[in-house]
Symmetry: C2
Subunit: 413 residues, 2 copies
């Protein structure tokens, strides 16, 4: 076989694995209990590796929030002092089979969604999605949301889930794609379907009324609750397609607010990075582009497995949030066919005549066409201390794909 054939074979295997992923939510448990390599006094974060003093404002704020949440410090200054001294170990989520939204900070006592890819046996983890601390807000109110998650919502959902023998996610994902979700920033349908399933689980588990009511109120009122689950599912699906020699398929796209990084199936643990791009955004009242931080979060795992911007043509409801017209959204979804390898047989877009979602970003096609993945994403403030300020569209930087291709040529040639 010549190299081209080897690449074709490898990519075939990668996309076969991407398509065959069978994500099942199996647990909701404290990070320290379940995430491989997790330690006390550790916080893991979104994107490629970054030192504390290099972090962007929002990721700093979010890290400080996590330190206060864990009770390691009581104030911003105390937390900052600990981080300055290097008392807290910081590592990327992706180095721990995990992903996190926006700043993506996960600390030891934070319950995480545990998703197993039943087709391949690997697991992945993601934290709760909320509109404050993950964006850099470390206020009392932001910490309160994490506490309720840890003390009430997550344990209640966990008890329900364990009685259900897990929850298959493919049926929810399939249905949600037919209901106007793009499974990145619009999770209205998936969250509602998830709440339907958990309501049955909670009643079946005969949990105390107060906790059940609080948790039902939380899940039925949180139209992004499924985002964390979908991200863990995306990571579990992508990880199974990783590590195929000669494969030019992208298995991670992640940003930390300073750098955008990608990983390639055939190039192991290496990150190929470029400066995090500016988002073309729509802002919440009181905020403007001049307040915005750069692109941030592991949530681009959604696009890595063919959701988010790749299926935005089927999710016109999101356009009031991120901007643009239904026709432009459909054009984005069509455009992504040019840089991907196949389409999913089950995940389909009715708005595009029920064609399958585009799967398997091939760096060769990205570099050949100059078409980069389109990502729809939320926006954090450039400074620490703020909740979400907007949302918009962004392109993965071409540079990442070019450096990956150069590294690929070096390794395999």
């Amino acid at each position: 076989m010549d190299i081209k054939q080897k690449i074709e074979e490898a990519n075939k295997e990668s996309v076969h694995r991407l398509i065959s992923g069978l994500p099942v939510l199996v647990d909701i448990a404290p990070a320290l209990e379940v995430i491989p390599g997790f330690k006390d006094k550790m916080i893991i974060h979104s994107g490629p590796p970054v030192e504390w003093n290099q972090m962007c404002g929002a990721q700093k704020g979010s890290t400080i929030g996590a330190v206060i949440f864990e009770g390691w410090a009581q104030t911003f200054d105390e937390a900052q002092a600990m981080l300055d001294k290097g008392d807290i170990r910081l590592e990327p989520n992706h180095h721990h089979q995990a992903v996190g939204p926006m700043a993506g900070t996960i600390s030891p006592s934070m319950p995480v969604w545990v998703v197993e890819n039943k087709a391949f046996g690997n697991r992945a983890y993601c934290r709760q999605v909320e509109p404050k601390q993950q964006f850099g807000d470390f206020s009392e109110d932001a910490i309160k949301g994490l506490q309720l998650w840890r003390d009430v919502w997550a344990p209640t959902l966990r008890q329900a889930l364990l009685g259900m023998d897990g929850l298959e996610l493919a049926p929810i994902i399939t249905k949600a794609l037919q209901m106007g979700d793009e499974l990145h920033n619009r999770h209205t349908a998936s969250s509602s379907l998830f709440a339907n399933e958990m309501a049955k689980g909670m009643v079946a588990a005969e949990l105390p009324k107060k906790e059940t009511m609080m948790t039902l109120g939380y899940v039925t009122g949180h139209n992004l609750i499924f985002l964390g689950i979908a991200m863990a599912a995306g990571k579990a699906i992508a990880d199974a397609a990783h590590g195929i020699e000669y494969s030019t398929i992208v298995t991670a796209m992640a940003r930390n607010g300073t750098k955008f990084g990608i990983r390639l199936s055939g190039l192991g643990d290496e990150w190929f990075t470029a400066p995090a791009p500016v988002i073309d955004g729509v802002y919440l009242p009181g905020f403007a582009a001049s307040d915005a931080g750069l692109d941030m979060g592991d949530s681009a795992i959604s696009e890595t497995v063919g959701w988010g911007g790749f299926v935005i043509g089927g999710a016109p409801g999101i356009l009031s949030l991120v901007g643009g017209t239904p026709e432009e959204a459909i054009a984005y979804s069509r455009e992504m066919k040019n840089i991907t390898t196949t389409t999913h047989p089950v995940y389909r877009m009715p708005a595009l005549g029920s064609i399958g979602t585009s799967m398997g970003i091939d760096i060769r096609k990205v570099v050949d066409t100059n078409i980069t993945p389109i990502i729809d994403t939320a926006i954090a403030h450039k400074d620490p201390g703020f909740p979400i300020i907007g949302a918009g569209l962004v392109r993965a930087p071409l540079e990442c794909f070019k450096s990956a291709l150069i590294a690929f040529s070096k390794k395999y040639n």
Copy 2:
């Protein structure tokens, strides 16, 4: 004021009322208990008035099913004999502030959705939607579904609902239109959102676990459960716009499988009918166009208030059921602007750039343009004894609108 001005003023009032409708689900109770003018040994049915011996096969089968369900007869032959003798009083749903899906049969002990239009104080009623008896199936299995509704599901939902002080439907309708429902044959989103609200109500009411689990299983598994509620909401909205002198706005479209009838706001209780049309359908395995009955059901109340075919452009997920392309569906929704009076300020279609839904069918515009309302609908068998056999698209017959216009000219000169 000349007649033209009088019509404009009247239509303005009609569509104002259509737009201002505020449907709230207030009860789920046996028909005899709540529907005005209901009597024992009475069955009310869909469409304009029709005698027993003139009924189409499916409506006959459904009526026989209702007679057996009520225990008035044990077998098909016994039930038929009673109906032949005129022992059962048959009247249209629309003469009782009610609507019913397909054959639309409502019998005394059948619990119905009770929707109050809080803006105007009027109430409307609709029966449970299921895939068998309403289509003409009178088998033991079909009757069993009605019994479970009467004995378990409806009473459990009723107890939950009464503890909730009613359920506002506008927020569910608004959201569902952004989630790919057209609120006639696709109710996937509205049903899921409804199930979440009722789950909270059931837990809050501390109902027995067994009944709660059975009912939660039913509502979360029934992706058309909201259709009956939406139909009652549509009827409650349309009735408030009825009875405005000089108004040329349509306030009912209904079919009984032999005739298609419309009512006009300015023409009182009169029906303007034409033969029920043939549906352009997609059939379930084992069935074909030659098996199909003609257009049937009060469910065109959906289109009367601007849902169903009028918003199908935002519901591409339904096309696998009724046929056609996303582009055709969008064209239908755009076309309906030509025969309507205004757009709804809150009910919007993201797939069409978030324009409001078309409201207020004006018979003058229909006759002027020769464009008739597009309806997406299920298909029943031409003979009694079958469950659902397909779904498709159909146009309201132009003839109804022409005769209404002639009658209007006669009355108002």
